[in-house]
């Protein structure tokens, strides 16, 4: 009853849904076998010049384009797609990270599946699942807090390399690309000390990795200068929003024994500090972690410590591509340098 094996079926079965032309269509049109088309498309094996031309003509005529999904189904092929999992793109930090990573990946022929897991471990877990389900060849992740042990299976047993960016993931062992948070904290604080400040407050987001390291740098700088840390000047916010930072600054500056300087450890927080100052019509010395646009255009240009965020993304992508290409050396930890840009707010002296 099956006619298909004896009769040469020249046209598509009627129930066909996917409408894009396939190698079979090209082959029919060029009057060659399907496998010959494959050889031409991939430039492997041997095909007579004239045959190849006929195939190419057919390809152009019907607008054939290789189906990468089918291709990656074959053993030994990867999907030529990586996954990128990070926070809110509205945060310029994540935006430049993404920009740079996409650039490197695309240039190497990889597509990028972008997913944003906004600080929610459960969302993050689901997102990773979606990406793995699409068989990404590797993952770049800015990990949230919370246990990431579930990634070890992916990275290890499943051989899907993972690179963490900006902070390591607790419970998971993989490559990490970081900025030198501790040195940044130290540099920011030291700069304020150099301007004569001794009562220096630090504003931190919740106990993320970065905040902890920046705080450590802050403490080291104080200790080195013989300044006794005042725990009233160490403020850890609950969520790390601009509004919280603004409120906290308000409290600090209107307290009995206010600080003369503030080290704010993220871009959002710096904005909050600035807004509070404006509202109070005061100014304190400020150094922020992370540079931001127009920082130099504000009434008092803002002094910051910063690192090259795009380089962070580029490096992560390059590292991941190396891993995908088979580099199986032990996990690497890269730390990018941080530099201070003095613009004004950090140079406001004590009275």
């Amino acid at each position: 009853m099956e006619g298909w094996s004896s009769t040469h079926v020249s046209s598509r079965p009627p129930h066909r849904q996917n409408t894009r032309p396939t190698m079979r269509d090209v082959a029919e049109r060029a009057g060659v076998a399907l496998v010959t088309v494959s050889r031409v498309v991939n430039g492997v094996g041997t095909v007579r010049e004239e045959t190849a031309e006929r195939v190419m003509a057919a390809i152009n005529a019907i607008g054939y384009q290789r189906n990468e999904l089918a291709r990656s189904l074959r053993p030994g092929q990867n999907s030529m797609t990586i996954g990128l999992l990070l926070g809110d793109l509205t945060n310029p930090f994540y935006a430049s990270l993404a920009k740079a990573a996409v650039e490197v990946a695309n240039r190497a022929g990889y597509a990028v599946l972008l997913s944003t897991a906004d600080e929610d471990p459960e969302v993050e877990r689901r997102a990773v699942g979606e990406l793995i389900g699409r068989r990404v060849a590797g993952l770049i992740i800015v990990p949230d807090q919370g246990d990431h042990a579930f990634l070890n299976e992916i990275n290890g047993h499943d051989h899907v390399p993972i690179v963490f960016v900006d902070r390591p993931a607790t419970g998971a062992e993989a490559d990490v690309v970081l900025v030198d948070n501790e040195d940044g904290g130290r540099k920011a604080t030291q700069h304020l000390i150099d301007q004569g400040h001794r009562r220096i407050a630090i504003l931190g987001a919740p106990s993320y990795y970065s905040t902890g390291r920046r705080l450590r740098g802050y403490r080291k700088a104080l200790r080195r200068s013989g300044i006794t840390p005042d725990s009233n000047l160490v403020v850890t916010l609950r969520r790390g929003t601009t509004e919280e930072a603004s409120a906290a600054t308000h409290t600090l500056l209107t307290s009995a024994d206010p600080p003369t300087a503030v080290f704010s450890t993220t871009g959002f927080l710096t904005e909050g500090v600035l807004r509070a100052c404006r509202q109070l019509q005061t100014s304190v010395a400020i150094v922020g972690f992370d540079d931001f646009k127009l920082a130099d255009m504000l009434p008092t240009p803002v002094t910051v410590v910063t690192s090259d965020t795009e380089e962070l993304g580029r490096h992560a992508a390059r590292l991941l591509l190396d891993r995908i290409d088979g580099d199986d050396a032990p996990s690497r930890r890269t730390v990018l340098p941080v530099q201070l840009i003095a613009r004004g707010t950090g140079e406001i002296g004590t009275q």
Copy 2:
């Protein structure tokens, strides 16, 4: 010679490369047929409670996860992936667009392939090819200048819906989601007129769609107020960078008959105008198109006309998903409203 049809092959062929477990692995472990696993995973057909539990147990035991790539190879299935093609993510406009689109898509179960084609038509064309090769179910594109007729085939014959954002594509017919550029231009200019200005310059990026419409609004507002347009006050930059805008502003303000107000038609340009003013230690009245962070914190807070960029992205994504779901009504053009936010620079009077 083929033993495979008579002998029950219970273990994997040795040359296996992809190491993730498959339905076959689950089936073996649960002692059922592969198709039963499929039924359980997809919740279709009928499976006895007890059998389903055995299958689920096996799935959890070996950490099975459905291969979406293989799945989407079947007729009538789509890849559950859309493509997003836009400009430099460092531009907050694109970043919010992407954020919103990704959010909507993910929530609907779609993954997003992100590609950035930086104002280069050839790069854009290649990027579209890569996305189509991965069989995206739809495309959201912020089109560059240049002919986009090649997209008609994709949108029409191949049934891959396309939604253009921020500007229509020349030569291609598809849904478009825009902001009301002309009204924005009109509102910005009218606001300056209302403050008493009559010599109002306009700074535009190259003749992109948006700039043209904003310019038209500018002209209409002038005409309506009986102001004769001065062509010396209409400046079209060659690339639209901040630096160019700064230089152009410098030229304008130091000319024999300088304008008393400037309408800058993009965020980058507005920054350039502000920098030039600072450098010259002058101030002119300014209204910018597109809001930006810290606009309200600058020495003179910046007046802008703006629309809801995230809504732009959300709307585009929702429209695309509708199309993917089969909505085949004629192409739609959505225009989002623009509002003016008066902050200071627009309210600087004449002398």
